[in-house]
Symmetry: C2
Subunit: 253 residues, 2 copies
Amino acid sequence: MKKTKKKINAAILIIGNEVLSGRTQDANVSFLSNWLNDNCGITVEEVRIIQDIEKKIILNVLDLSKKFNYVFTTGGIGPTHDDITSLSISRAFKARYEFNKEAYQILEKYYGKINFNDGRKKMAKMPNGSSLIYNPSSAAPGFKIKNIFCLPGVPSILQSMVGNLKIYLKNGLTTINKNFNLETVESYIAFDLEKLQNKFLKTVNIGSYPFFRLGKVGVSIVLSSQSKIQLNACEKKFIKMVKNKKIKLFKNN
Amino acid sequence: MKKTKKKINAAILIIGNEVLSGRTQDANVSFLSNWLNDNCGITVEEVRIIQDIEKKIILNVLDLSKKFNYVFTTGGIGPTHDDITSLSISRAFKARYEFNKEAYQILEKYYGKINFNDGRKKMAKMPNGSSLIYNPSSAAPGFKIKNIFCLPGVPSILQSMVGNLKIYLKNGLTTINKNFNLETVESYIAFDLEKLQNKFLKTVNIGSYPFFRLGKVGVSIVLSSQSKIQLNACEKKFIKMVKNKKIKLFKNN
């Protein structure tokens, strides 16, 4: 018997001063959020970026773990002194911070016995009871404990690993989006858009985002729904509104 | 008498489904964080990205308002139905949500009486007791209430407004950063880096971030401090370590 899919939500916790300080532009939120929605029907509902301070990691992990079905952390699982995600999460869940046998073997094989130094060994340490998230690009695995999934911060490595998350994740309802870029300003459509939103209050979310492109102002309208039927019905009424108000769409919509 | 500058911290609260869903890549965190540090000596210590849902805005604004000296929100102050930041913050602080006289006049002048429709008028509504943050590019002002500063989400508009924040902000200690891109891997330097960090435990923060560039692996080391003297002392020892370990710097360091 086919089970009815439910709404499943998630949070992303980015651990690292480099993103917070503005030196590094995060690329993981956009990738993870899209990947989780498109492949697993999981909706990211909150993102936090925090400093790599043990107390803050513990507080945020525990808080988000309670509030969301899944939590994905990025960063802080490398070999250097500022990589304290694994240790902090062990303490958050009062689990022993210890060598994971399988992770140890994977890394020893990857680096060779002679080159397997302390820094590299550190990457095999994680909370007792963790399951591994395999890493096809640079060997060092991520891990899952409770509903927390710990991934590295380097985008290319993270992206190579997400396929290995799937075995742990329940599939929920995918959100379908339709995007329209209008040659107009928000205040010209605000009234009609609100009327439309009120008609589809519980089924379609209508977002309105102003932008500038090649010196022109525009508004990007996003219709989002977990029901194709409701989305299509809303789109129909939206297109009618656009025509009635004589608004053009941008060419490369 | 010159007052001694203190550490001043801040949080950024990004309100909007478009960033959360991964459709839009945020550009405001990096800009704001750099600007606040370089111009005001204010350190951003946490970022949250949340949905535009009134209850969530209220909870997060109140929580961050207590934890940080300043909170900067972006997004949700435009004319459409999904722009609910001003209303939500009014409710968070139990302030009346009403027309700000000056904002109303600014917008009426900008659009002209005839074109000043309801959507545009909405942008003059904010919590009673707010102070305006003037907007030189598209007129609609942001506002300050308590220690919360509400800015728009469109990066170019936000960037044109930050100069007008300065009158409200106390200056703190600027963090100075030095960045070195090494042709090495983290595990080769982890031990020595930790030793160095322990020597400057309370004065310099040493961050280590692996990266890939043109097929080569590298590590970006960031030394951060609010004391120039300590930073220079740490840098000296760091350079010595790099030489001893025969590590090259990337050419375009």
